[in-house]
Symmetry: C2
Subunit: 269 residues, 2 copies
């Protein structure tokens, strides 16, 4: 490991954290206490769904996948980019983090391509590729003393905003920025981490390396919903991210106390 690189934490919070203001405030306080460079990435939450319902916009699903039509894009731009993002920024400022709330359009930080129509037209959804993020761009903002807080909206560089998965944004940021920083990617959600038994928080697995992951998959110990998250995590690690942590948003403070927090995924030895 090169000594010249600074540590960077990229922390993604899901909708369940955002929906509960008490949990959210605790999380943002712990986020503020975390030393070093950091980037927040947040997803949606119930508010967008509720607003869509109130406005009579039907949730369009094809084969169980959500479609972002132009009306839905307007709603997520309002809710993710406006309501949620700016309230998170105001709270972070209150706690002392000099945050700037961002979409991928701001600063041209995350440029994506509208997903091509094959069998399904997903609508205004942006897919990332290896050119989506220029890490030097984001470094400029952090060097100027600001902490980026990204919502799950990107742009195509041609004036079109695009809805983009927040988990994917977080891991792509982690990979791109690992060229400049020692990057830790943290997924905060409503469970203690990766559990052997989904109903038992005490069954937390503290460490997983690629070999152990293979074993857990073979023994079908890891449940289906967790597989894409873990696959992405190990891909990120393969692309330069130092470690990935999956843990409960309430427990982020443990990291500040240098205590074990959630499930740690690493390259192994």
């Amino acid at each position: 490991m090169s000594k010249e690189k600074d540590d960077l934490y990229i922390i993604k919070i899901g909708g369940n954290v955002i929906d509960n203001s008490e949990n959210l405030y605790k999380f943002l306080k712990d986020f503020t206490a975390l030393k070093g460079y950091k980037i927040l990435v947040h997803g949606g939450g119930k508010v967008a769904t509720q607003l869509s319902e109130t406005l009579g916009i039907e949730a369009k699903m094809v084969d169980g996948r959500r479609i972002t039509d132009i009306e839905t894009l307007r709603v997520v731009t309002m809710v993710y980019g406006g309501l949620i993002n700016k309230n998170i920024v105001a709270q972070l400022q209150r706690f002392g983090t000099n945050a700037i709330g961002l979409t991928g359009a701001d600063g041209d930080f995350i440029r994506t391509k509208k997903r091509p129509v094959k069998t399904i037209d997903y609508g205004f959804v942006g897919d990332m590729d290896e050119k989506s993020i220029h890490p030097e761009n984001i470094k400029k903002l952090m060097d100027a003393g600001f902490t980026p807080a990204f919502c799950a909206i990107t742009h195509d560089g041609e004036g079109q905003l695009l809805n983009t998965n927040a988990d994917t944004i977080a891991s792509a940021l982690a990979v791109a920025l690992s060229k400049l920083y020692h990057t830790t990617l943290i997924y905060c959600f409503e469970k203690a981490g990766v559990l052997k038994d989904i109903t038992d928080e005490a069954s937390l697995i503290q460490e997983i390396d690629p070999d152990y992951y293979k074993e857990l998959k073979e023994k079908e110990i890891i449940h289906s919903g967790m597989l894409p998250k873990l696959d992405n995590a190990f891909t990120a690690i393969g692309c330069g991210v130092k470690q990935v942590i999956i843990g409960h948003a309430d427990n982020l403070g443990l990291l500040n106390d240098s205590k074990p927090f959630g499930t740690r995924l690493s390259k192994g030895v």
Copy 2:
């Protein structure tokens, strides 16, 4: 005039520009062509009113003044901070301006105080004072290569977002930043500038200094709606702003061609 200071344009566009996407795109293209440092400030437009109506939120007025209750604050945070601001940023990026869309909460750039309740409770409205803006903060963002695009929302530093008049934000930015830049404040709206006859665009007054302004007021040539704008403009000039221009959003390109644009207000000789 000190030679060390760079030029800075602070350009405010009103709702009438935002409501017409063709006009808006032309303006954003001309804004991009403008050389030097620049900051965009935008107001609302019809979208917020329309969304409020759709959501069944009644516009609350007291003595002809709009009240920002908590529901209205949510709507303006969504529409100004999300929908309008992020679409403006995406268009600016398309034209080649490396914009970052901001509320006053972002970067703690504009901190205001909730308007005290005297006879009227205006709700979640933020008032600026001389400590609201730290120009060095905003300079850091511009020095890092980004162009700020502010919507009309600020914060109190305690986690509360506040609705704030966009004209006031623009002039306060111009005054605060005149410590570091040669600042020109430009109000773009749907008229050619200050007109002698409000029905005749050809009656444009090209230059007004304080003496001429006094004369125009005494002769009641300037109509009532323009008075607060001009009073604010001359106050800004008294506080260090080099000049204020009031002109049609469609004509901003004239400034790029060094042609006379709108009504120019200055300190005089």
